[in-house]
């Protein structure tokens, strides 16, 4: 039965980067696909699609999560912040500025996830030094190996927040 029935799309509301977005969505749509394919917010990246790389990290109600392992229907009513929503009135978020200051990327594919994850990390307030930043950022892989600069960028943003 599972593959022959096509359930009706389900109406949901998301507040994405401060803007209310109404969607009709089939239940097997991940939040990642909803953001990229339905809302055309392609800043959030799909790396592994299995929770193993962190490229898809966004903030849901202020907490960092892997959007590839989140069903959009389950987040009906939630506030989502993606990389597109971090800058305010044309001013970069301190983490975005710090990533530029420290050249904390090469190809940039992991960067939106790194920055959203770091925003979650700062909000959690659990990291006090570089070792703890490394441990609590371990859910974000960087195939270009920009790790030392990523840690330096987060330390800068942490010291100024």
């Amino acid at each position: 039965m599972a593959d022959t029935t096509i359930p009706e799309p389900i109406p949901i509301n998301l507040v994405v980067n401060g803007e209310r977005r109404a969607l009709e969505i089939v239940p097997w749509t991940t939040l990642l696909d909803a953001l990229r394919d339905r809302l055309e917010l392609t800043g959030t990246k799909k790396g592994c699609d299995h929770g193993q790389c962190g490229a898809c990290t966004v903030l849901v109600d202020g907490r960092r999560v892997n959007s590839c392992l989140t069903l959009a229907v389950m987040k009906d009513g939630a506030e989502i912040t993606t990389i597109e929503g971090l800058a305010r009135d044309g001013t970069l978020h301190p983490l975005q500025q710090a990533f530029i200051d420290h050249d904390a990327f090469q190809c940039g594919y992991c960067t939106p996830g790194q920055i959203c994850s770091a925003a979650g990390l700062l909000a959690e307030g659990r990291a006090r030094d570089a070792d703890e930043i490394r441990e609590l950022m371990s859910g974000n892989l960087c195939r270009c190996g920009a790790y030392p600069n990523i840690v330096a960028a987060i330390e800068q943003a942490m010291s100024r927040s």
Partner: protein
């Protein structure tokens, strides 16, 4: 991922009713294991029952001096809760050794207990696997079994349970509270997960139509002499090859109470009352720890690629007990070898 119907449970009774009404339905909480397996077509539920909004998020003190933790408490909230940090630091440490910060924000206590094995053949639907498709055989037996079990295996399955949290819960003597079509029951965490035997498709003793509502920790906390050591291929964000949860009560250098459980070595968290009993009344020395390790590892058998795990486990047990005895628990962040 297959197409499926979606229902949001309004309360626990509704979740049980929905589960009972559709044998192909599955509960979903954080989704971090189930959605992953659905993307691989390992799980193909006809319906997902969303329990993430049920009021199972409380962490409350029990009349007996223990703690009752709702099944939907996120792993990160649990690890960082003051009651857990201060009274059950072994549990906090084990949870923080697992997955990543993002995944811990999503993962629920109930889902963590129910997470399935990471055996690569279980994930690969083109290969025989009796856990995934009962009766088809075990590809790991003569295949890549470096990460597989050394204890409690059967000729039908040598998979391990990947949970870190469960290892600490086993050591601490936690209870699992369950609700189902015929009412409520509680079972010890050490009886919750099964050995594979001839039914490797059953990971746990949770019955059909049943839902985990909470876990309960007994009053005894082990606030000083504890450690959770996780040995893995990279320092973070990797499953255990071997992990050890150890907790001691010491009077001077004499052990009055000992708890010891292993992860990554069996189909369930591996605890031996005999090994713990052998430590009681003894001095906290490497020799006594080595003896306890031998008792805990009694009957360990190696497959073609995982023989190293037996000696690794023995050394890890001794080291973890030394860390516990000297009150220098393994640091997840600094990876200090104490």
């Amino acid at each position: 991922m297959n197409n499926f119907d979606y229902s949001r449970a309004s309360d626990v009774a509704d979740a049980i009713r929905l589960l009972t009404a559709d044998p192909g339905a599955k509960l979903i909480a954080g989704g971090t294991n189930l959605i992953d397996l659905m993307k691989e077509n390992v799980e193909r539920p006809s319906r997902l029952i969303d329990i993430s909004r049920l009021p199972l998020r409380a962490i409350e003190e029990t009349a007996g001096g223990g703690l009752r933790i709702g099944a939907l408490v996120p792993n990160s909230d649990l690890a960082y809760h003051p009651f857990i940090e201060q009274r059950y630091p072994l549990l906090a440490s084990a949870i923080l050794a697992g997955a990543s910060a993002q995944l811990r924000n999503m993962a629920s206590v109930g889902g963590n207990l129910m997470q399935r094995t990471r055996c690569a053949y279980f994930y690969d639907t083109t290969t025989p696997c009796s856990k995934r498709s009962p009766g088809t055989g075990c590809s790991a037996m003569d295949g890549l079994n470096r990460n597989h079990a050394i204890l409690g295996t059967s000729q039908f399955c040598i998979a391990t349970n990947p949970s870190d949290m469960s290892v600490a819960l086993a050591a601490l003597g936690a209870l699992v509270h369950i609700a189902g079509p015929s009412g409520q029951r509680s079972i010890a965490l050490t009886d919750f997960h099964r050995l594979p035997g001839d039914k490797p498709h059953l990971d746990t003793n949770l019955g059909s139509g049943e839902i985990i509502t909470a876990i309960e920790l007994p009053p005894q906390t082990f606030v000083r002499n504890y450690s959770y050591l996780k040995i893995r291929d990279r320092l973070s964000y990797a499953f255990a090859l071997v992990s050890v949860a150890a907790a001691l009560e010491l009077e001077g250098n004499a052990i009055s109470e000992a708890r010891l459980a292993l992860g990554g070595v069996a189909h369930k968290p591996w605890r031996s009352l005999e090994a713990e009993a052998a430590l009681r009344g003894k001095a906290a020395t490497p020799d006594h720890f080595g003896h306890a390790a031998d008792l805990l590892l009694q009957g360990a058998t190696a497959g073609s690629h995982n023989g190293f795990k037996i000696e690794l486990a023995r050394r890890a047990i001794v080291r973890t007990l030394m860390q516990a005895a000297s009150a220098t628990p393994q640091s997840q962040a600094h990876k200090k070898i104490a």
